[in-house]
């Protein structure tokens, strides 16, 4: 199964490169404009390639399950963020190289006197820079997620449309009608990817709503939303996967957020549960959601699941509300009557804030389950693990050889970085640990 996903991943990677490089190399076909010096041609090439990379950014976040399943959504979003820095660098380097080798072109920066094709280039470049700056400093500047997301889309569309207008306006390489048609077609394709996730998917969700059947308070300032499909059979998922939930407003609004499914994947009536912690933002209103409210769910997504990684035993490592996908895995294993050993290392703030504490204890009767609670603030007389999960704790609680187990990790970024490092110290190969970073958006 892993080989199948690796093969899928390789195919998508090759296709990604083809979509960037083929339109560039197509410019070398047919009739060609007069040859210029190396640096001018190089700067033009990176400008075209940079724009194609920016356009494909829409595809990376278009929630195509076949595209994302070999990697996992968090890795795709990480790639989306990192590759955007490369793409913007290429686009910005394009005029900078030209300014260095032909300083007279600096006059084009005067937007009042510059021709439209140069103005479009400026609009495209400034939009891209604004887009990246907003993305990098969104959290620091306390920009609301929904506000930022809207600006992110607007700036991206403006950057790409203005970039193409610049290319067509200059008409150097796009003088041939078929080359112009190719690049305009590409832009339509990129915008189509955006419309897929913003129009087509919401239309699909609108026809397949869910009703809130129960709002249940959990330990650790968290709430469980139990949802029933309304007029459709729902979807089947693998334990550990997540969905995009829209509670307030229509699915066309940019208010959907990703949450792990915390219920058992063996439930057959289509009902699902999500457990959400109050983090002070929109999640603080989850407890006020009325029973019967119509909500929208897009899923399932994610590669973080025990079903893809069969093993003799499972090691689940959770920090705080990162326990939700683990809960889905544990409930599912219990419903399946699975008797393989499961060890849950569960880091929490304190004893009272351990979400699912009582249910986990009860599930021990149905599973070969060992729970190791790790408390940051332990009560007087606590003899269990204290502080944060470390490599030493693995040695105390896991049977060797450590490299034989499958590890599933979900929690805050700092915790996950530390655990991945600890597993590396125990010589656990990369293929044996699986993680989901819920901070990916």
């Amino acid at each position: 199964m892993q080989l199948r996903y690796a093969a899928h991943g390789a195919v998508w990677l090759i296709l990604y490169l083809v979509f960037i490089l083929a339109p560039l190399l197509a410019l070398l076909a047919g009739s060609l404009p007069p040859t210029r010096d190396f640096w001018t041609e190089f700067s033009v090439a990176i400008g075209y390639a940079g724009l194609a990379m920016m356009g494909l950014q829409f595809g990376l976040t278009a929630r195509f399950r076949y595209v994302t399943e070999p990697w996992g959504e968090d890795v795709i979003y990480h790639f989306h963020r990192q590759i955007s820095l490369i793409a913007v660098s290429l686009v910005v380097a394009h005029p900078l190289i030209l300014f260095v080798i032909r300083p007279e072109l600096l006059a084009l920066l005067n937007s009042i006197e510059a021709p439209w094709r140069a103005r479009f280039a400026a609009v495209s470049t400034y939009s891209l820079i604004a887009l990246v700056v907003m993305a990098l400093w969104r959290a620091k500047w306390n920009i609301r997620y929904e506000t930022w997301h809207l600006w992110h889309i607007v700036l991206a569309v403006v950057a790409i449309a203005a970039g193409l207008a610049h290319m067509v306006g200059w008409s150097f390489y796009l003088a041939d009608p078929w080359k112009r048609a190719l690049w305009i077609g590409l832009m339509i394709f990129w915008i189509g990817l955006l419309l897929h996730v913003r129009i087509v998917k919401p239309l699909f969700m609108l026809r397949r709503p869910y009703r809130v059947a129960e709002v249940r308070r959990e330990r650790g300032d968290s709430w469980t939303l139990a949802m029933q499909p309304d007029g459709h059979p729902g979807f089947r998922f693998s334990p550990g996967q997540f969905g995009w939930l829209t509670v307030w407003g229509s699915p066309f609004k940019i208010t959907g957020h990703p949450f792990s499914l915390s219920s058992s994947a063996e439930v057959t009536d289509g009902s699902v549960e999500m457990t959400i912690r109050n983090l002070g933002d929109f999640t603080s209103a989850i407890g006020d959601v009325p029973v019967g409210k119509r909500v929208y769910l897009d899923g399932p997504y994610g590669a973080f699941t025990i079903d893809r990684n069969p093993a003799d035993m499972h090691v689940l490592i959770a920090g705080g509300i990162g326990v939700t996908p683990m809960m889905s895995m544990i409930r599912t294993l219990a419903d399946r009557g699975d008797k393989r050993l499961v060890i849950l290392l569960y880091g929490s703030k304190d004893w009272e804030s351990i979400t699912f504490r009582e249910e986990l204890e009860a599930l021990k009767a149905r599973l070969n389950l060992t729970i190791v609670h790790v408390l940051a603030n332990s009560p007087a007389g606590w003899t269990g693990e204290k502080g944060f999960i470390t490599a030493e704790m693995f040695k105390r609680h896991l049977p060797p050889p450590y490299a034989d187990h499958e590890y599933f990790i979900c929690g805050p970024d700092v915790m996950m970085d530390a655990i991945e490092k600890a597993l590396g110290q125990l010589n656990v190969p990369l293929s044996k640990y699986h993680s989901e970073r819920y901070s990916f958006v």
Partner: protein, 31 residues
């Protein structure tokens, strides 16, 4: 670690794109 793998993919993609841009320029200059 999976993100480290993604970083390697980003680096490889950037390297391939820049190399192909160099090739594009060389082909143009060579006529």
């Amino acid at each position: 670690m999976r993100r480290l793998f993604a970083d390697k993919l980003v680096f490889a993609t950037a390297a391939i794109v820049i190399l192909m841009s160099v090739l594009f320029a060389l082909l143009r200059v060579a006529g």
